[in-house]
Symmetry: C2
């Protein structure tokens, strides 16, 4: 054990030389990170869904049918907790700050690591996250209300049905950002370049049309005001799988805890298709 501890200390000593994404994952491993927003700027973060192999094929098909809420940016082999395409040293069991363990569609535990829950039949899916496109919007000087106010983005269950696959069915969840109309047009252009992190908005302007009764009462996250000269713009959201897991009352699943994502070694700018 002394040798191992020595080797870990050696790695810590070299942390200053690490890529910001690797350093961020190591910080997340300690369980002390309370939000990954703003961590390792420039690097892609992802939503996590872990399922038993017998459900994984259906979920993979669900993602293929619903690429706007569920754009897959990486997945593991069966039983393998590593996803080298997202990070050579990445261990999906420890590298997120907090997880949600689901039984029968309910969250039963929110542990800081899932070593004890891991099984040889599990498959991990990493799904693109809006942090990537928000970086592109801010780089274009578009103001993002919930970031300015230091709260979580407001999210809503809609009446837009996902296309079902096996037990996976349910409503699309969307995130909302208010913009002045000219900025909304620019936001459509910018996010269209990033299809693997939800891409262009799915709706704007008429919340009632997509089943949102009260814009001031999001189903997830925090409310933000929409001013009279602004329009609410809605993007498909990576929380959709969690709504679907709950709706399907799946016997077992593990996800990330909202706002506490997987930091990958991919760069946001690599995701731009144009």
């Amino acid at each position: 054990m002394t040798g191992l501890a020595g080797s870990e200390r050696l790695l810590d000593d070299k942390a200053a030389d690490l890529s910001p994404s690797v350093a961020a994952r190591r910080a997340c491993r300690t369980g002390t990170v309370t939000s990954t927003a703003g961590l390792a700027n420039g690097f892609v973060q992802g939503n996590l869904v872990i399922l038993p192999e017998k459900l994984a094929a259906s979920f993979h098909r669900f993602c293929q049918l619903n690429p706007k809420p569920c754009p897959i940016i990486g997945m593991s082999d069966v039983g393998d907790p590593h996803i080298p395409s997202l990070g050579i040293d990445l261990d999906i069991r420890t590298d997120l700050p907090r997880y949600r363990v689901w039984h029968d569609g309910e969250v039963v535990e929110e542990p800081a690591e899932i070593m004890a829950h891991w099984r040889d039949d599990l498959v991990a899916f990493v799904i693109g996250c809006s942090f990537s496109f928000e970086e592109a919007l801010m780089a274009d000087d578009l103001p993002i209300r919930h970031i300015e106010r230091k709260v979580r983005v407001p999210m809503y269950r809609t009446n837009i049905a996902c296309r079902p696959a096996g037990p996976f069915a349910g409503p699309m969840v969307v995130s909302m950002r208010p913009f002045k109309p000219a900025d909304a047009i620019r936001a459509v252009q910018i996010t269209s370049r990033f299809p693997s992190v939800h891409g262009a908005p799915v709706h704007l302007g008429h919340p009632h049309s997509i089943g949102i009764a009260d814009i001031a009462r999001p189903d997830y996250g925090d409310p933000v005001p929409v001013e009279a000269d602004e329009i609410p713009v809605f993007w498909a959201c990576g929380v959709t799988p969690q709504a679907v897991i709950a709706a399907a009352k799946l016997p077992f699943a593990i996800t990330h805890a909202p706002g506490l994502m997987l930091v990958t070694d991919l760069k946001n700018k690599q995701l731009a298709v144009l």
Copy 2:
């Protein structure tokens, strides 16, 4: 004269072999075309502005400063009525169905040709037209209300000031098309590919914010309804130069008559930047 008449008949006899754009210009020369909408589908049509050389440099700079309402797709040499880049046989004095002759900012005549008005100091500017992007929208199955209703697109003077150049100053004119929100997002994506024919919208959702008091009363063209689940989407419009010519009370100018454009040999699809 017998020989010339014979040669013209020969050209007519070969009309069936002509490119649709050349055939359309020949039809426009006869002065019998009442609208160029739907003529020579697939080919670029343009707004026309003809000015004396001493004003042309200012107008050219005005267009450069205001590329969304005034994207130049072609211009003539001083005193030359031909624009071979838009059509080898094109004669700007005869090839539009109808013109407007402006004196001191007022329309004084709407002739079918301008042979008698042409001068050695005139410069012709051809400016991109929304017909091109409407073709792309329809190719994507987006419904266009004024085309369905067989009326002219509604156009409005806004409170968006053009950037001035010399005597050229005034409000941007916009055209409006109502869409369901998801179609509005798609329309932003599609028209973004066509910057030389006005490109992406300049506004959507809040007509009052851009100085439009009553969406049912356009300043040019015809009104169309905006349904409760739709949002009005506004594009910069090639009628802007005519509003500016009127506002500047220019001593002399010639333009096309609204809806009666120049048909060019350029293809709409050639204008896509992506």
